[in-house]
């Protein structure tokens, strides 16, 4: 299949070799015009153009990876759950948390607990969201000590019992940093060295809908 076929010199053959890129609209103007001029007078090439379009569509569809698509969707849901508002534990004057949009859209946030974290840059699904820098520390009044940095997010099944949730967290030495959010997500801290194992263990738990890492680093 590696012998090079001669393409020059024969207009019909040249057009045949260009049809795939004519279909995808990536030929330059001169080439496209030459293809069209030949198509006008060649039945065979016109018929091939139709089947070429069909083949191109089918190949493009077959190349769409359903597993990758689903993985992207899971990450997106995790990102949205993370950004959803948390009920504020103290109703007295919480300084609003400022942040840039996650995943390129505006999402409201009333995350009082996370606001106490000095700074955290999140990368969820490969998209970075910048959190307030250390200079901009936000406190609730009567500021409590900042909790440990969140590095994982988990969503339990709606019917999971408190006991099951507690057992899952204890088993994986996970501590609660925040949650539940409006999407019933909990933000956790787990030992960074054992995070992969903890997430795998959580995912295997029948009460867990989703467990994803949150990769963070302090932004200047």
């Amino acid at each position: 299949m590696n012998n090079v076929i001669p393409l020059a010199g024969d207009r019909h053959q040249q057009v045949q070799s260009l049809l795939p890129w004519y279909v995808t609209g990536t030929l330059d103007e001169d080439e496209a015009a030459a293809v069209e001029a030949h198509l006008a007078e060649c039945d065979e090439c016109r018929a091939d153009l139709v089947s070429e379009r069909a083949l191109g569509s089918e190949v493009a569809l077959a190349s769409m990876d359903i597993d990758q698509g689903w993985a992207a969707m899971r990450e997106r849901i995790a990102g949205t759950a993370l950004a959803a508002p948390l009920p504020t534990p103290q109703s007295d004057k919480v300084v609003p948390l400022r942040r840039k949009p996650l995943l390129g859209r505006r999402i409201s946030i009333g995350w009082a607990l996370a606001a106490q974290a000095a700074a955290l840059a999140l990368v969820v699904g490969g998209v970075a969201a910048t959190w307030p820098a250390p200079d901009h520390v936000y406190h609730t009044l009567g500021a409590a000590p900042a909790p440990r940095a969140a590095n994982a997010i988990v969503i339990f099944r709606p019917d999971a019992t408190e006991r099951a949730i507690r057992a899952a967290l204890t088993l994986n030495s996970a501590t609660l940093v925040g949650g539940p959010t409006a999407s019933d997500a909990y933000v956790l801290h787990v030992d960074p060295a054992k995070r992969a194992d903890a997430l795998a263990s959580l995912r295997a738990n029948r009460d867990v809908v989703l467990a994803e890492p949150i990769d963070g680093s302090v932004q200047p």
């Binding site: 090079v4 995808t24 190949v59 359903i66 992207a72 969707m73 997106r76 949205t80």
Partner: protein, 194 residues
């Protein structure tokens, strides 16, 4: 008889859809994954014909199904679930096209839109995709790369030659052989595509 079978299996799928959306309302991720996988091919085919760009299809497809996850409670059962989802996909696709400032031909869209493909269509789509994937697997990595870069990533042959570090004629030759191979392997299926 064929109509009866279609009705029965279509009804079964509608019932299954209703069960899934009820669980999705309760934020059941497993149900959502089942729905996602069952709609991926159907929506992909529909969207590809609307937006014509495979990479954009992936984006719009996930935008659509994200709405299903987030707004499942707004599906009131007045229509079939598939109609509701395809209508969301249609709106998302139009929005994406407007953003791209890409002219679209409304007359042809009406012809192309098939909101409710029959179960038989689904089966044949899946069979064709399986056959095609098998045929693509049989290609050498170089031929497969040319096919993939051309049709999925929609790159011109010069750009592909740059990526693969080979002469443009080699790209054309690989494409020629790869197409011939795929068309031969898919010979019995090709008429159905047209």
């Amino acid at each position: 008889m064929a109509t009866e079978q279609r009705t029965t299996s279509g009804q079964r799928r509608d019932d299954e859809d209703m069960r899934l959306i009820a669980r999705i309302r309760a934020k059941d991720m497993a149900a959502f994954e089942t729905l996602y996988r069952s709609y991926h091919v159907r929506l992909g085919r529909f969207l590809l014909r609307l937006v014509n760009r495979p990479t954009l299809v992936e984006e719009v497809l996930n935008d659509t199904l994200m709405v299903v996850w987030e707004k499942a409670e707004s599906f009131n059962g007045a229509s079939k679930l598939s109609t509701w989802i395809f209508a969301i996909a249609y709106r998302k696709a139009m929005k994406a096209l407007r953003k791209q400032d890409d002219p679209i031909d409304d007359d042809t869209i009406e012809e192309r839109v098939c909101l409710d493909p029959s179960p038989e269509d689904d089966v044949s789509h899946h069979r064709r995709r399986a056959l095609l994937l098998e045929a693509m697997t049989a290609l050498s990595p170089e031929h497969r790369a040319v096919i993939n870069l051309t049709y999925f990533h929609e790159m011109g042959y010069r750009e592909i030659a740059g990526i693969m570090d080979c002469p443009v004629d080699t790209v054309k030759t690989r494409m020629f052989h790869a197409r011939r191979h795929l068309k031969r392997r898919m010979a019995g299926e090709l008429p159905d595509w047209l």
